[in-house]
């Protein structure tokens, strides 16, 4: 048996003993910490203050909170104006609207100007649940990672989302932080390493690599435990920093494991998994299966039903792992 990585919560293998907290809560907590550390941090909300958890910041720093109403385009450009006047500005909405609706403003006024605008995309992925496809943003990773100057962070639980939010505030330039609506297991700790530009190996193994981001990292870990019972040791990588991506860790995984499964709660096209392929195809080509939304929209349902329906849970990862193992050279 491989030695367990000492990075995760002690009882990470036992879901019933883990707290279930939405990643958005970590965003709210991170905002407050960022606001304490730097009085130039401001937050703008487009009428979704409570559900994005921007409300934590509003309560702590009412003078630095701005209510914009349902106007995501002007919100993004106004944030850029504030940034050019010296502020670090988070804009909080649902990912479908920001960066969905206001992509051009983010491109021109945040990225091209290298402005200190941080886009907080709440309710990303299909685990939004009953609200349905209009609100289940699954194209956001694709449209943000392609932007020059933009950094893209997809944290795996509420603790990591807090860290990512604080890191975003400290970084220069535009950052996209993606998080989710529904509760998910808190399996990292305050001591789990986090750094922009770094992928974390959460479980070692060299039969294949499962590279995941967001709350599905936990599904990847559960799948790895199942595979282990079959004698297959999977390396599980938390690819939180979708951009800049940790080329070294990805290439090492390709070399050591020879096959990769990627999984994300987003379009498989042009997402995190595609970015992994961009790296491996150039440096060390190996078979990759990209799990995610396969060129289709979501629909209404309970979060867990939807993850099951779209094949994004541990049993499906196990199947994908077996498929990719057969393609190994």
């Amino acid at each position: 048996m491989k030695k367990e990585q000492p990075k995760l919560a002690r009882s990470w293998k036992n879901p019933s003993r883990l707290k279930l907290i939405p990643t958005r809560n970590g965003f709210g907590e991170g905002l407050v910490e960022a606001g304490k550390a730097d009085k130039n941090v401001m937050v703008i909300s487009a009428d979704l203050t409570d559900s994005t958890r921007a409300s934590y910041f509003k309560d702590a720093f009412p003078d630095r909170f701005v209510q914009f109403g349902v106007a995501e385009q002007a919100m993004a450009a106004t944030a850029a104006g504030m940034a050019l006047a010296g502020k670090t500005v988070f804009i909080a909405s649902y990912a479908a609207f920001s960066p969905g609706r206001n992509w051009e403003q983010i491109r021109t006024t945040a990225c091209l100007q290298k402005a200190n605008v941080k886009i907080a995309g709440a309710h990303a992925g299909i685990s939004v649940g009953p609200d349905g496809a209009t609100h289940q943003m699954v194209e956001d990773i694709a449209i943000t990672r392609v932007l020059p100057e933009m950094k893209v962070l997809v944290p795996c639980d509420s603790i990591e989302t807090r860290k990512a939010t604080i890191a975003a505030a400290k970084m220069k330039g535009p950052v996209y932080v993606r998080f989710a609506r529904s509760s998910s297991p808190v399996f990292t700790t305050n001591a789990t390493p986090f750094a922009v530009g770094k992928a974390q190996v959460f479980r070692d193994g060299s039969d294949l690599a499962i590279i995941a981001c967001g709350p599905l990292v936990y599904e990847a870990l559960m799948a790895a435990e199942e595979l282990s019972k079959l004698g297959i040791e999977a390396r599980v990588i938390n690819n939180v920093s979708v951009k800049p991506m940790d080329e070294k860790t990805i290439v090492q995984a390709a070399k050591d494991c020879g096959a990769i499964v990627t999984i994300e709660e987003a379009q498989a096209a042009a997402g995190m998994g595609s970015a992994v392929c961009e790296i491996t195809s150039q440096h060390f080509p190996v078979p990759v299966e990209r799990m995610g939304m396969q060129d289709r929209f979501g629909e209404s349902g309970e979060p867990n039903e939807l993850l099951e329906h779209f094949g994004l849970t541990a049993p499906y990862i196990v199947k994908a792992a077996k498929r990719i193992m057969k393609k190994k050279k």
């Binding site: 003078d63 701005v66 914009f68 109403g69 106007a71 385009q73 002007a74 919100m75 993004a76 450009a77 106004t78 944030a79 850029a80 104006g81 504030m82 940034a83 050019l84 006047a85 010296g86 502020k87 500005v89 051009e104 403003q105 021109t108 006024t109 091209l112 100007q113 290298k114």
Partner: protein, 292 residues
Amino acid sequence: MPSVRDIPSITDKKLHSLEKKANLIRQDVLKMLREAGSGHSAGPLGLADIFTSLYFHVLKHDPKKPGWSDRDRLLLSCGHVVPIRYAAMAHAGYFPKKDLMTLRKLGSKLQGHPEVTQMKSLENTSGPLGDGGPQSCGMAYVAKADKLPWHTYCVLSEGDLEAGITWEAAMFAGKNNLHNLTWIIDRNNIQIDGYTEDIMPLEPLADKFAAFNWTVIEIDGHNIMQFVDACRYAQTIWENPVVIIAHTVPGKGVDFMEFEPGWHGKPPGSDELRDALRELRTLGGTIESESE
């Protein structure tokens, strides 16, 4: 309340010098566009009197210290008219006039649409219509909240006013009483596809802004006295943001360009440049050699 520098009233002597300066700046705009071989002619010429007034009378600024923190902020929303801004800035001393001839060329700071990363004193990047208004709101919001002693100006075109984002920003400015913000609308009634009132009528424009809780001033955009007075008046308003609707003639100063939508988005050829310069020099009261 932040103290904003009073804009002085204008003397006859200053008025004449500004008119002359505007004429010279127009000439440079045409030469730049000819050299670049692409770009917009009508809008920049129509805004020459306003940009000359801004850089040589209205704005609190120092070309030798472009990063001065207390400078007034002048943003452009309609990035396509940037040649007039470049020409006015060169005349004001921000960079050598010879640089104007690098407009739109590889490696130039004078990008086809303004880029603040190339030149900090441009204040903002613009081109996609509608993005300047909200950026000016963001700056004015910070200045008001932090009691900073500068004023924010933003020049917008009619195309900007067809974009919904501009009205989102107008709502925000009205809600937050951004009295330290002045928008200047270039109301020249042309855009690429034709006459604005045919393409998407904006009237009643003054009523629209008033309904968004703005104070509205309408002026002749070629009357420097009126423009300066409007900017002076805007500084006395403490309740609302102010919009100056400046009625301008597209292509102003060059007879064959005036009011012609065809001149919105193209530069002069060499014969056209010669004719245009001759006309402007005559307007300026000085007949100069064509070979100059």
